[in-house]
Every structure is written in C-alpha cells, then in structure tokens.
C-alpha cells in the first residue's frame, strides 16, 4: 500500500532535485572534449533539450515498462547495472548486518545484565569505538594491516561467489567488518537500553520470584521483549546499508550501489541516479515492512493486539 505512493513521491523528488544540480549533464559527459555539435547530439539523444516534465513523463513511462534507460556515461542499461550491483550490495549488507548482530546484541545484553561491572564497561567501550571510529580511517588501517603487512586478505576489489567462494569471502571480509562494527555499536546501545528497561519490569521480577533460572529470565523473558525496538532499528539500519556505503565501497573498490550513486551524481548520469534511488527506496519500504512482520512474530503480545 505504502510502496507505490512512496516510490512515486521519491521519483518526483529525485527528478526535481537533480534539475537543481548546477552544471549541464551533456557538458559533464563531454568532459575535456568540447565539440558543441557532439554535445548538442547528446542533449537530443537523452531528451535533455525537452522541458523537465516531459523528461519525467518519458522516464516514468519507460520505468513502468521495466526500462530504466541507459547510463549516459558508459552506455550500459541501468537495469543491467542494477542487476549486477544489487547482489554485491545485498551481500555486503547481509554480512555487515550479521557482524553487527553478533557484536551488538550480545554486547548489549552483557552491558545491561552486568551494569556497573568491568565487563559492561568493556562492552560499552567496544560499542562506542565501533560508532566513533571513522569508516574511512578504519578501512585504510585494516588494508594496511591485513593486506600490506600480513598479506592475508586482498586489499580491495570484489569477486563474485559464483566465480570463487573463497576469494569472495576474502574480499568481503574487511568491508563487512568496517560496516558491521559501526552498525554493531548502534545495535549494542539500543539493545542495552531496551534490556535495562525490561529487566526492571514487573513480569521479570515475577519470573525471578518463580525461581526461573537467570539465563531463562534474560534470554527468554527479557531479551525477547527488548528485541522489538532493536528489530525495527535493525531493519532501518539494514535499509541504510542497502542504499550503499559510499566511503567503504570507495576504499575497498566494491562495485556496489553507493559507488554507482556517487559516480552517477558527479557525472550527472541522471538515469543511473534515478534507478539507484528508486530501487533503494523500494528496498527500504520493503525492509520496514519485513521489520514489522518480524517484530510481530517475535512478540506474541503484538499478535494479540492485531
């Protein structure tokens, strides 16, 4: 229900905003070359000489028929670019999210359960470090350590899992770690907050009074309830990862959405920018929906209220 109006709104917005970008797309495309006849031919070919609403109508008409147009810069159809980059971005997002969850949730639970103790302080420091270290710096440091000095992992690039699983994992490890630590920090802070709150709730006290083991109290009674806001946040963060991680992709030369979008903006490659934004927005809406469904499944109380 939400998907169609959201995508329509996003498409109008992105189209309008792109028109505000200074600089002519055909001049951007021409780069060093300045032949006015060739520039005019480009403008005509991509309808840049038509009024903006007409350009929009042409584009929407094509998108509705499944044609996202072609990249003005490298002539590759945008749908083909999206199809090539979506799996890369999804893989990077999934691996990063997995690392974030593995770090964030246990660290959050530990920090809440052992409040005030050294282990909780350590978990907090870990989370804050993940949050505050710039991705750019961490990425370069990891490349220097693992690729230049130790030679364990490739410095950058991406190999598809269909081509070589081992090399795929090797290329995706460092960027996933960089992104995962950042998101893990956020997840940890939220898990901790939610856990502290639920651990103080009446039903938890009741469970303890009924001699339920502490392990059961924390994992079954408290964590399950505390996870609801964390799942919602996870869906949002996952959506953010799916819309591309520009700096991380740039450093590790991962051909994902972020790099495609930034190159598209700098080259005024309108069809590419519109394609990426539209697909990212669609994914974002779907993920939010998935987050709601997941929260509904995890928490029986929500089922009752539905």
């Amino acid at each position: 229900m939400v998907l169609v109006p959201t995508l329509f709104f996003v498409s109008v917005l992105i189209f309008a905003l792109q028109q505000l970008l200074p600089g002519d797309a055909a001049v951007a495309l021409a780069g060093e070359e300045h032949d006015p006849v060739a520039v005019a031919a480009i403008r005509h070919k991509y309808h840049l000489d038509r009024p903006v609403p007409v350009q929009y109508a042409i584009w929407v008409g094509r998108v509705l028929r499944g044609d996202f147009g072609e990249s003005m810069r490298n002539k590759i159809p945008v749908s083909q670019l999206l199809a090539a980059k979506l799996p890369v971005t999804v893989e990077l997002a999934v691996c990063s999210m997995a690392i974030a969850l593995v770090i964030g949730i246990p660290a959050g639970v530990i920090a809440a359960v052992h409040r005030g103790r050294p282990i909780a302080v350590a978990a907090n420091v870990l989370a804050l470090s993940g949050l505050s270290v710039p991705h750019f710096w961490l990425g370069i440091m990891l490349i220097l350590l693992f690729a230049v000095h130790l030679g364990w992992l490739p410095a950058s690039g991406y190999v598809s899992p269909w081509e070589d699983v081992r090399r795929n994992l090797a290329t995706i490890a460092l960027p996933s770690f960089v992104l995962g630590t950042g998101v893990g920090g956020i997840m940890m802070r939220h898990t901790r907050g939610a856990m502290v709150e639920t651990l103080g709730a009446d039903y938890v006290r009741t469970a303890r009074a009924k001699s339920v083991t502490e392990r059961m109290v924390v994992l079954k009674h408290a964590l399950r309830n505390a996870l609801i806001p964390v799942i919602t946040l996870g869906a949002i963060e996952f959506g953010r990862l799916l819309s591309g991680a520009v700096l991380t992709e740039q450093i590790f030369a991962i051909p994902g959405f972020g790099k495609m979008l930034v190159d598209g903006v700098f080259n005024r490659d309108y069809a590419v920018v519109q394609g990426v934004v539209l697909v990212s927005a669609g994914l974002y809406v779907l993920l939010n929906l998935a987050g709601d469904v997941l929260a509904f499944l995890v928490n029986p109380r929500l089922r009752g209220s539905a």
């Binding site: 002519d24 060093e32 002539k75």
Partner: protein, 501 residues
C-alpha cells in the same frame, strides 16, 4: 567418515584447479576513475584511453619522444598540396571476431567517426571529405583543407579501428563490448569494478605480448590505490600523486617512473565572454601583472614537492615546439604593481573558481597569497568540476582553474583554445593574427617551418595572455619492481606490448 574424505578430495581438487588457474600471468592496473563507454567514436574520458591501449590498436602510435610510428598502418604519404593522404595498411591483421582488417574496414571506421551522432572524433578528423579504397591494403583520405595534425589524431581514438561487423551488430551499444584489433580481447566489464581482457591469440604482433590476462581496476581513493600496489593486488597504478611518491620510492618492491605530460594546468581568464569579462578583459597589462605576481617555481616546490615542471606555454619545456626565447619569467611584484597602475586598476579584485580537489585548491591558496603582495585581491570560489566547466562555457566566470591533458601534435594544445571560433575558447579571446598563423601551421608539413609559426604564436599569447599556463605535471606510473619492459610515454598511456611480469 566417508563423506569427510570425499569433501577433502573435492577441496584438494578445487585448490589444485585454483593453482593451475593462477599460473596464468595476470596484470592488474589500478585506474584513477571508471572509464566511460569503450567506444573510440564517443569516448571522452582520458582514463578510457588507458583501457583502449589493451583492446584497440590504432593506425599510428607515438614514441616516448613523440615521433609518429606505424601501428595498423605501415606508412603514409601526403598528396599534392596536402589535400590528401595515402595510407598503407598492415597485412594479415584480424579483429577479435576473426574479421579481416583492410581498406574497407578503415573506410567504415572513418565514416563511423564522422557520422555517428555525438561523435567526439568528428572535430578531430572532420576535414576528411571522403575515403577512397585504392586497393585492399591502401586507402586515401581526401581532405577539405590541408590538415597536417591529422596523422597525430590517428595516433589516438580517431585512429582506432573497430570490427565493422561487430559495430553494425552492436550499434550504439558497441561501447559495452568493444571488438577491435588490439593485443587483448575484451572479456567483461563490471561497472565501477573491473574491465577484463585476455590475450588475443591471432594478434598481429603476438610475440611481443607476454601477459595472459589484463584487469583494469578503478580505485578512486589514492591511499587505497597505493595500498593495493604495496600489497601486490595491483601491479601498476597510473597518475600517481606527487605526495605518494616518497612511499613508493622507499619500498624496494616497487618503483615509480615519471615523464613530462603533454598537457598543462591553466587559468583561463574571461576576456570577452559576457559581462564578467569586463575586469580582466579590459587591458592586457592587468593580465601581465597577474602573471608577473605568480611565482611558479615556489608553487611547484611547496605544493608538489618539486616534482612538476613550471611552465608558461602550451607545450612543456621538453617539447621540440617549446619557444626557448620565452622561458618562465621571474616573479616581479614591483613591475606587477606598476602595470596595474598604468592600466588604471591599482586595486584589482577578481574571483577564481577552483574545483574541490587538493592539488588545485592548495595551489590556488598560494597564488592568492602571492597576488595579495602585488595588491591584487583574488577571491577563491569552490565549485564542483562540472559546475565550473559549465560556468566556463557560459562565461559565468572571471578566471577558473582547469587543465588540458594534451595532444602529441601542438595544434591539439592550442587551436581550439585560442582561435576566434574555437570550441574551447572560453575566454572568447579573438586575434585574427593568431587565427591566421595557426591555420598556416595546420597546412605546413615541414616541422622546422611549423615551429616558426608556433614560436610566433607563443610570443603573441604571452603578451595577450588570454589564459595563464602555470605548470606541466609529470605523469608518474607506479609499478611492481618485478615488471620489466615498461617505457613511460608523455601521454601517460601504458603500452602493454613488451611488458613482462
């Protein structure tokens, strides 16, 4: 436990296979940006030329000392009055799809360059009126006007020959799957990821190709690019920044070679391109004052670790067309102030547009400080590159900071920038004398005579100063010390023939 044994056997086999695959020699070259369409007719970006060197041979090539040598051609002869040129072609050459390279293919390619909408080659070879097929391996280009720089244009994308069959089949998608006659055959392209080629078994000069597979990997961040070279993931990187040189030089596993570029860094000044040309276009003495207040050597020393070459002409001091009578002048603040007073602008103020890029930003700050000492207030306005170039076209600037990558023939560095109707003349400088001299230089085949024309041009331009040429970069290529046979060329394009890993 049987399944475990089976699994181990499969894993060992997989590893052995991986070992066999890695026995191939793979050369991975780090690029500064992702190239545009891989179609010589519509290609614009400099970086694309590095990739074409692997896939597409040209009729001619240039040597490191800028001599024109045959590649897919074997010889050329100018016709009477320079109105035609006869080109003999190399026999036995095949395109990657097995199609023969011959006179018909040359005609097809030239006509494709001239007739494709959006072709950027038309402005380079537009003087070709028609192509006659003399025999299967000889063509004659008939020209509307004599154009000596034509042969130099054929050493670049205008001279690249693509398979007519593939071009017809792929149409305007040719750039996604180029089929040419170069040492490597296109395999795949992952946009922003890599461009892959494999050695072409039927290449006409295959004895000189020693690499089995080539991968071009765009990595925009220079620190990451350098880290890849150091880790051995890349074997070569192009256009190394001067600030990264020390690291490469201190690493015994790496080496770096540099050569003066063909182009230059410049400040086009607005002389008559709309109302914003009022200030700097008012009097040449104003521009001379700015020129005298800038100390190019200091900029090179402070910003570029003394790795670049101060310059004031459209060719670098190493070019045979450099006019040695007019070397870079010494800075003279007192004279600059005097010129401004004489021109009636003792408190000159103007704005320089600079893109948000380290090299030019830092140089602009140094220039700003230097000009201030001569009483000139230069405001720096940062504008993203495309916005700046658009402002240049429209005349919405007083001065901006850009560069030209350069061409092997001096005509390519000057004609369209300073002739009255030149497509790159953003200054809107117009001097009939310059138009006349540069046109004569285009008609003149004798290099000594041409030099006289260009010397005269330099003299006039250094007086009129429609743009300030500031320095010439050195094109540095970083490479693994194990690579042998690499010769740097002033165009910065990596020739892959003769390279050994």
């Amino acid at each position: 436990m049987r399944w475990m044994r089976r699994l181990t056997a499969v894993l060992v086999l997989a590893l052995l296979q991986a070992g066999a695959a890695s026995a191939q020699t793979v050369l991975r070259i780090g690029l500064n940006d992702d190239p545009d369409a891989l179609d010589p007719t519509i290609s614009r970006a400099y970086v694309g030329r590095l990739v074409f060197a692997a896939f597409c041979d040209k009729l001619f090539d240039v040597t490191p000392d800028l001599k024109i040598v045959p590649q897919l051609a074997t010889a050329y002869e100018w016709g009477v009055g320079g109105r035609s040129v006869l080109i003999r072609l190399r026999p036995g050459v095949k395109f990657h799809d097995g199609e023969p390279f011959n006179a018909e293919a040359v005609r097809f390619n030239i006509e494709r360059h001239l007739s494709t909408p959006g072709s950027f080659r038309k402005s380079e070879i537009g003087e070709i009126k028609s192509v006659d097929i003399v025999n299967d391996l000889t063509v004659r280009f008939n020209l509307a006007e004599p154009l000596v720089p034509l042969i130099a244009a054929l050493t670049d994308r205008s001279g690249m020959m693509v398979s007519p069959k593939a071009a017809r089949e792929l149409g305007d998608r040719f750039g996604t799957r180029p089929v040419c006659a170069g040492p490597f055959k296109f395999v795949e392209r992952v946009a922003q990821g890599k461009i892959v080629g494999e050695r072409f078994a039927d290449y006409w000069d295959k004895a000189n190709v020693h690499v089995d597979r080539i991968e071009f990997v765009p990595i925009t961040d220079s620190t990451a690019r350098l880290a890849n070279l150091r880790s051995g993931d890349l074997q070569m990187i192009e256009r190394v920044s001067p600030t990264d040189l020390a690291q490469i030089r201190s690493d015994s596993k790496l080496k770096v070679v540099g050569v003066a570029e063909l182009g230059y860094q410049m400040l086009p000044l607005n002389l008559a391109n709309g109302p914003r040309g009022k200030v700097l276009g008012a009097d040449p003495r104003i521009r001379q004052a700015i020129d005298l207040a800038i100390d190019r050597e200091t900029i090179i020393k402070t910003v570029f670790n003394n790795e670049y070459i101060p310059g004031n002409q459209f060719v670098s001091p190493v070019s045979p067309y450099y006019n040695a009578k007019f070397p870079v002048k010494r800075r003279d603040v007192a004279r600059a102030r005097q010129l401004l007073r004489e021109a009636g602008h003792p408190n000159l103020a103007f704005t320089l547009i600079v893109p948000p890029e380290r090299d030019r930003q830092e140089a602009a700050l140094v220039i700003q400080a230097m000009l201030a000492e001569a009483g000139i207030t230069m405001t720096i306005q940062t504008q993203e590159n495309v916005t700046m170039l658009s402002a240049g076209r429209k005349g919405d600037f007083e001065a901006y900071f850009t560069f030209w990558s350069g061409r092997p023939d001096p005509d390519g560095n000057i004609f369209t920038f300073t002739t009255c109707n030149g497509g790159q003349n953003d200054s809107k400088y117009c001097n009939q004398d310059i138009d006349g001299i540069l046109t004569k230089a285009r008609h003149e085949a004798d290099p000594a005579e041409r030099k006289k024309h260009y010397d005269q041009t330099t003299e006039i331009l250094l007086r009129d100063l429609p743009r300030l040429i500031l320095w010439h970069r050195r094109v540095f290529t970083g490479l693994n010390a194990k690579i042998q046979g690499f010769t740097p060329h002033p165009d910065g394009i990596i020739r892959l023939k003769g390279l050994k890993l």
